[in-house]
Symmetry: C2
Subunit: 295 residues, 2 copies
Amino acid sequence: MHSAPQGPGRGHGRGQGRRAGARGAAAGREVLANPASTRVSRVAGLARKNVRARYSRFLVEGPQAVREAVRHASDRVLDVYITEASQDRFSEIWEEALAAGLYSHLVSERVMAAMSTGSQGVLAVVAMDESTGSEALTSALEGAALVAVLTEAQDPGNAGAMIRAADAAGADAVVLVRGSVDATSPKVVRSTAGSLFHLPVVTDAALDDVVAALHGAGMTVLAADARGDLDLFGADSLLEAPTAWLLGNEAHGLSPEALSRADAVVSIPVYGRAESLNVAAAAAVCLYASARAQR
Amino acid sequence: MHSAPQGPGRGHGRGQGRRAGARGAAAGREVLANPASTRVSRVAGLARKNVRARYSRFLVEGPQAVREAVRHASDRVLDVYITEASQDRFSEIWEEALAAGLYSHLVSERVMAAMSTGSQGVLAVVAMDESTGSEALTSALEGAALVAVLTEAQDPGNAGAMIRAADAAGADAVVLVRGSVDATSPKVVRSTAGSLFHLPVVTDAALDDVVAALHGAGMTVLAADARGDLDLFGADSLLEAPTAWLLGNEAHGLSPEALSRADAVVSIPVYGRAESLNVAAAAAVCLYASARAQR
């Protein structure tokens, strides 16, 4: 696998031949053109969860997510790949990657297609950060005023949209409880539209540990659920305090366990005939109700 | 194709052989078991847009959506299909379909799988209603206080989630501008979780006609866009009036045309580093801000 050294300055002194990356004018730069190369199959392998876990790195696809990774998590970006055809279109990303001293590679269309089907011409390989364990949890929650807890989000698009909504609403952290979808799967990463690199995302946490840590950080734990006895829009005095939202599964909502751990169960009022909202839409409405009350 | 007569009472006098449906005790009921039958291929064909348009009917998959169709649009339900294995699990749907006098068919697992991959054991074929043209538009907007306008929603999951959010927020109608995803595609229908049958959904409307009709109905037309000069949470006096929200495309937001037609452009404040919200999440936040201000 890649063995790029960490930190600024990496990418120097390795500019030989096919594996050349990093700084340098685009003109005359070599293009990775062999879709059967080891490098290509290693990058493509990151579509699989066990490969990601084994090498502690994941794929970031598409201009928006790659730009945000380069901009906000450059110390974790191991490689940037861009097709020749996309170089002009995404010149901002390319320039920023070069300026940050990142290994940046021009690749042929065929190489890009072999690496990823969702890249839109630009791709990055990013190292996972230390996002599990009680230390990561405690550190993410320190001084937090608003936190989203995904208790069993299974749909990658919804999970990504929830991380994005938490970011937009100014949340301080997102926690994924064990059993949720893998936050580094390509579809989740794409759906976060870069928000994965904007705020701490703690993963694989046990529900009881999360609730204990939230209480330890002085936060009120609210469950977002249609069965709640509090109306979201009548709960401003509750929402003004530091708040964590427990958010459920797209099909069956929150588990009885999660409901029982919450300090209060809050419902979005339904004025029409729908039973409930899509879980990502519900997350956005709840998180913004908190943000509005807190400001 | 099916030629089920409309209205209550249909389903009687046709209880012969394989094509039997409608009323009758489950015991002794024949089971459609031939996946190669004409009926099965005709139902399966409804996965394709041109077939849906040609026969003016569409597929409704899964227990939630079928239940809502049976409950709220039974005059348009042409057939209900349920597997033997699902009959007990979804007995409520089965009983309601029989009570409504709907053609209701038991099918084998293989027949269900040949008809649809997303049925979870229960499926309905539903006639499209008259949802296009100026008359449908005028009728849907009459007396409306809150309307969602999908100007170019392309992702079926997002479009469905927006229709569902409009329903939940108590909107009076949803309008899909020409160029949006087909509202009767299986994935949109599934994503609405039944909301498609809860409120008028007008399709294939020209933007100018929609805006003229909204103004004709006395509504303020607001564009939801990150480039707005009004903050959603500081616009309550605007939101109290009858309001239509123009909602954009998941990738590039609202078109310049749509922005120029709006009476005001309103932004959801972003407190973190995200550029914007997922379009379905944004729709829910905007629609609920209106619902809250109007109540």
